[in-house]
């Protein structure tokens, strides 16, 4: 198996961490990750041409089938581009040092995602999942700034509660059916599920659904996404948004759809969650002014499209006949959009990172005028922006269009309304991409006049992806073969793609557009007279850099008009974030028992940094100290028990029970 080479490269990349020098470490490990990702693409090609592979990799049962290669393709493409880009980009963090942490975590991250989508055992699936969460958590706090550490802790704890616990419980459910950890292959689980009682199926589905919804940032579990992607180094954010979110989609298809099966209502649930999420994500992205947070919300929104497409598939495929075909189209379009989203979102993240690399900021209000000095980056960002807005002939158009078609044809009011929302929020997507592009690269600013283009490696990383948006958009046939896992009856050849009578010919479109544009250009050749500065009403005092609309002001009136939507959304956000806040506090409270802390009750431990300043206790101290301290606190507390203490104690008890459940 070629997969061995890939994993080997990732392991080697991790071992490179032993080098002492920061720069050498990050460069070499990123390069090994790049090679590993290329090997993944090779594996995709092998399986695509000569059929599924099963085998054994270091004792882990592996099966690479038609579904796995879709996700291997995503991981490989995003991994290759982001790793190539990281070779230069990671220099930004030289002050932090600790190249070995990056080397190990980054390579583990890629390897664990590979493991998840190829392992043919739920045990290793869950193990890979935990490894992925842990390594991404380490990468998120890599910058070690207080705000980033906080974000990463919240990310990890969210994942703990919404991913780890449900996944382990689901694993337990599967184990209870089969009775042996060695035989937890997907096929065995599917067979066991076929005869299992309905309640078991429902519990298994619900647990996994929570885990996958949380990982791909579906509403109402989307509150962790924005801060996490902002905190992580940009090349890592690109992999997280591009590949990690998609792994949840793999789980949805491989573990829920293919083992438990699907029904109209389950599909409707997935589609409705998708439609809600694409609305929330997109409208939140619209008002964001931090490039990375904007892109994070945008990923939430785009993942909504993917879920919506898959939901249409899960709802309609069981119906068979024409609706079954529409369902297959929806599922195909969802997977296609997953691939497309991986490509253009990673590309946008890399462009934002390039801007950060040169200007030191991703705050859109402060940026501007970079189109003049960073031409190549600007064009890549323009391509990716047009692709994400679904402008033909870029790849986003085809997948979004097929999603609309499946929704409009679904013969169901809810799904049709979902398609309407999808089409509407496509305009929202256009709005924030125009803002993202315009605020970074539009205009001309003196402040950034001396900025230079980023090094070649970073440009190649961006352009691998930006080029693909156009290539796949013009020749969708290059990937439809791999993506058509659900045997959707799409009509396609080199020139066109479509469903029944609804066709689109991207090649012809590009030719016509190109010929017309160049023809009109030649007919009305531009002729320039003098050069003049933009007209500013004759002002003499004006600060030219500020003679513009900053990112915040773009859609202010619109945002005001839909303010009630934001208030509702914020309320949900506060509930989720508040829950995580208290859970974090509970964790810290427990953790405070393992450090040398001043022995007064109510010592304020608010963030991880408060703990990190303190010394860790020795093991013998740890054994007795908690008891003494607990008695101490009890003595202080009992005269006047407060509600807060109660809540904390209750949480500890709940935590202990859940912990016991997991152990059992």
């Amino acid at each position: 198996m070629i997969l061995e080479y890939a994993i080997g490269a990732f392991i080697l990349g991790g071992l490179v961490g032993l080098l002492r020098d920061y720069k050498a470490t990050v460069k070499a490990s990123s390069f090994m990750a790049f090679l590993g990702s290329l090997a993944l693409l090779w594996q995709v090609y092998e399986v695509y041409t000569s059929g599924p592979v099963s085998g054994d990799l270091f004792g882990i049962p592996i099966r690479i089938d038609d579904l796995s290669i879709v996700f291997l393709l995503i991981i490989g493409l995003v991994g290759a581009a982001a790793s190539l880009y990281a070779i230069n980009y990671m220099e930004l963090f030289e002050k932090v040092g600790k190249g070995w942490v990056y080397a190990i975590a980054y390579n583990t991250f890629l390897a664990s995602m590979t493991l998840i989508v190829t392992a043919d055992s739920m045990e290793y699936f869950v193990m890979g999942w935990e490894l992925m969460t842990l390594s991404s958590f380490v990468l998120v706090f890599f910058s070690e700034k207080a705000r980033d550490v906080n974000a990463s802790v919240k990310y990890y704890i969210t994942m703990h509660f919404l991913d780890t616990i449900p996944l382990f419980l689901a694993l337990g459910t599967a184990y209870s059916l089969i009775g042996n950890f060695e035989e937890l292959t997907f096929e065995n689980i599917a067979n066991a599920m076929a005869t299992a009682p309905a309640s078991t199926k429902a519990v298994f589905t619900a647990l996994l659904m929570v885990a996958f919804m949380a990982k791909s940032g579906m509403v109402p579990f989307h509150f962790w996404v924005a801060e996490t992607y902002r905190a992580a180094p940009t090349s890592v954010s690109a992999v997280m948004a591009g590949a990690m979110e998609k792994v949840a989609i793999y789980g949805l298809i491989a573990l829920i759809w293919r083992t438990v099966g699907t029904s109209y209502n389950l599909g409707l649930f997935v589609a409705v969650i998708g439609a809600i999420t694409l609305t929330v994500g997109t409208l939140y992205a619209l008002r964001e002014t931090n490039a990375k947070r904007l892109l994070a919300y945008s990923s939430i929104g785009q993942m909504g499209y993917v879920w919506f497409g898959l939901g249409v598939g899960m709802a309609l495929i069981p119906k068979g006949g024409f609706l079954g075909a529409v369902g297959a189209l929806g599922a195909f379009a969802g997977l296609f959009h997953a691939l497309n989203h991986a490509i253009f979102k990673a590309s946008l993240f890399l462009s934002a990172g390039a801007v950060e690399y040169r200007t030191g900021t991703v705050e859109l209000n402060e940026l501007g005028g970079l189109g003049k000095t960073m031409k190549v980056t600007a064009l890549a960002a323009l391509f990716a922006s047009l692709a994400i807005s679904g402008v033909p002939p870029f790849n986003g158009f085809i997948s979004k269009w097929l999603i609309y078609v499946s929704g409009y044809y679904s013969d169901s009011y809810i799904l049709a309304l979902g398609a309407v929302l999808a089409a509407f929020l496509s305009a929202g997507t256009l709005a924030y991409s125009i803002k993202l592009y315009g605020a970074q690269f539009g205009g001309e600013m003196k402040r950034y006049e001396s900025v230079q283009e980023v090094p070649a490696g970073m440009l190649v990383g961006q352009w691998v992806l930006a080029g693909l948006t156009l290539l796949i958009g013009v020749f969708p046939g290059t990937v439809t073969g791999i993506l058509n896992v659900f045997n959707a009856p799409i009509n396609e050849n080199l020139y066109k793609i479509g469903f029944q009578s609804v066709m689109f010919s991207p090649v012809l479109f590009v030719i016509v557009l190109g010929v017309l544009t160049f023809g009109l250009y030649l007919v009305f050749k531009p002729e320039f007279g003098k050069e003049a500065k933009p007209w500013d009403c004759g002002s003499t005092q004006i600060d030219e850099d500020e003679y513009r609309i900053n990112a915040e002001g773009y859609y202010l009136k619109y945002e005001e008009k839909i303010g009630s939507f934001y208030r509702l959304g914020d309320w949900f956000y506060r509930v989720g974030a508040g829950a995580i806040h208290y859970i974090t506090r509970a964790y810290l409270w427990m953790a405070s028992y393992f450090t040398k802390i001043v022995d007064t009750p109510y010592t304020r431990i608010e963030t991880l940094d408060d703990l990190r300043e303190r010394e860790v206790m020795h093991i013998d101290e740890e054994v007795f100290k908690p008891l003494i301290r607990f008695l101490n606190i009890a003595k202080n507390v009992i005269p006047g028990i407060r509600l807060g203490t109660f809540v904390v104690i209750a949480l500890v008890v709940v935590g202990a029970i859940v912990g016991l459940l997991i152990v059992m």
Partner: protein
């Protein structure tokens, strides 16, 4: 129909697309003038204006290549949009005869307009671009939902299937009314010309354009308006004339399309002449209401009415 007839119809389509739009604007100017008891300019006036712009060099406010190319890309998109529509029963460019493509290609005119406005360091053009986007944000959901009704009514998103299979229901009539409104807004006619508003934001995204490039942009906008009107007229005419089998019938249908387009322009002009420009928040509010009306119409359509 034989190939020569098809070619002839396509050729007429191309001619109409390139030549008619400025005349339509001429008609509108004449009608507006008459409403204000003025004589008004000749019908050719818009062509004269464009010709004059084409003959003048442009002032260059930025080195950005996008600034130079955006007008041509916008014009090309507008032309493609117009040529995706049926003339008689012939579609000049058959790159997939479907609503979503038409919807996006027409949108591309605005996309390039906005990008052009953002390439220069000028608060007025940025403001205009942002306004244009806000109008799109509110009008696109409306159009999306109306397309949903059409697709459900006819069982397809393919324009020719829609034309062949539409059946008259109350929801379809309401859809026509709202669609007329939505396309009017999208065309950026008078109460909705907020993005380019000369008196407020000195032409919005166009404020830094001059000479030939400005002429190309104006030309693109006229063609876009023509395409949207032709689309509406086609939806109004073609479903009810029965199958078009002969060249003669196709010619008759084309004549009806043409006459109706010319006849509707004075209506648009009188609406323009009698309305004052709205504020952006008014438009947002109106369109949001229209969107909810659209949701109700979609529900009615699903109930089978």
């Amino acid at each position: 129909m034989e190939t020569t007839a098809k070619l002839a119809f396509s050729f007429i389509g191309v001619l109409l697309t390139f030549l008619l739009p400025p005349y339509l604007d001429g008609i509108a100017r004449r009608v507006k003038a008459r409403l204000q008891y003025r004589r008004g300019p000749p019908l050719m006036q818009t062509w004269y204006d464009l010709n004059k712009l084409f003959s003048l060099p442009s002032v260059k406010p930025t080195k950005s290549a996008l600034f130079t190319w955006a007008p041509y890309l916008a014009l090309a998109s507008a032309v493609i949009g117009a040529l995706l529509l049926p003339y008689g029963n012939v579609v000049p460019i058959d790159i997939g005869f479907n609503l979503v493509v038409f919807f996006y290609v027409i949108l591309m005119v605005s996309v390039f307009l906005m990008l052009a406005g953002l390439t220069v360091q000028n608060a007025f053009s940025h403001l205009g671009s942002a306004r244009e986007m806000q109008i799109i944000l509110t009008v696109e959901p409306l159009i999306a939902i109306l397309y949903g009704v059409l697709a459900y009514n006819a069982g397809s998103l393919n324009i020719s299937d829609i034309i062949a299979n539409l059946h008259l229901t109350p929801s379809l009539v309401m859809t026509y009314v709202l669609l007329a409104y939505a396309l009017y807004v999208e065309s950026g006619f008078m109460p909705f010309d907020i993005a380019e508003a000369e008196q407020e934001v000195i032409g919005g995204p166009l404020s830094e354009y001059s000479g030939r490039l400005l002429g190309v942009f104006y030309y693109a906008i006229y063609i876009k308006r023509f395409a949207l009107l032709w689309f509406f007229v086609s939806l109004l005419v073609l479903p009810w004339v029965g199958p078009i089998n002969t060249t003669l019938k196709a010619a008759e249908v084309l004549a009806v399309q043409f006459l109706l387009t010319v006849a509707l322009y004075p209506v648009i002009a009188s609406l323009e002449a009698t309305n004052a420009r709205l504020r952006i928040d008014h438009v947002v509010k109106m369109n949001t209401r229209a969107f909810f009306a659209g949701i109700v119409i979609l529900a009615i359509a699903f109930m089978g009415w």
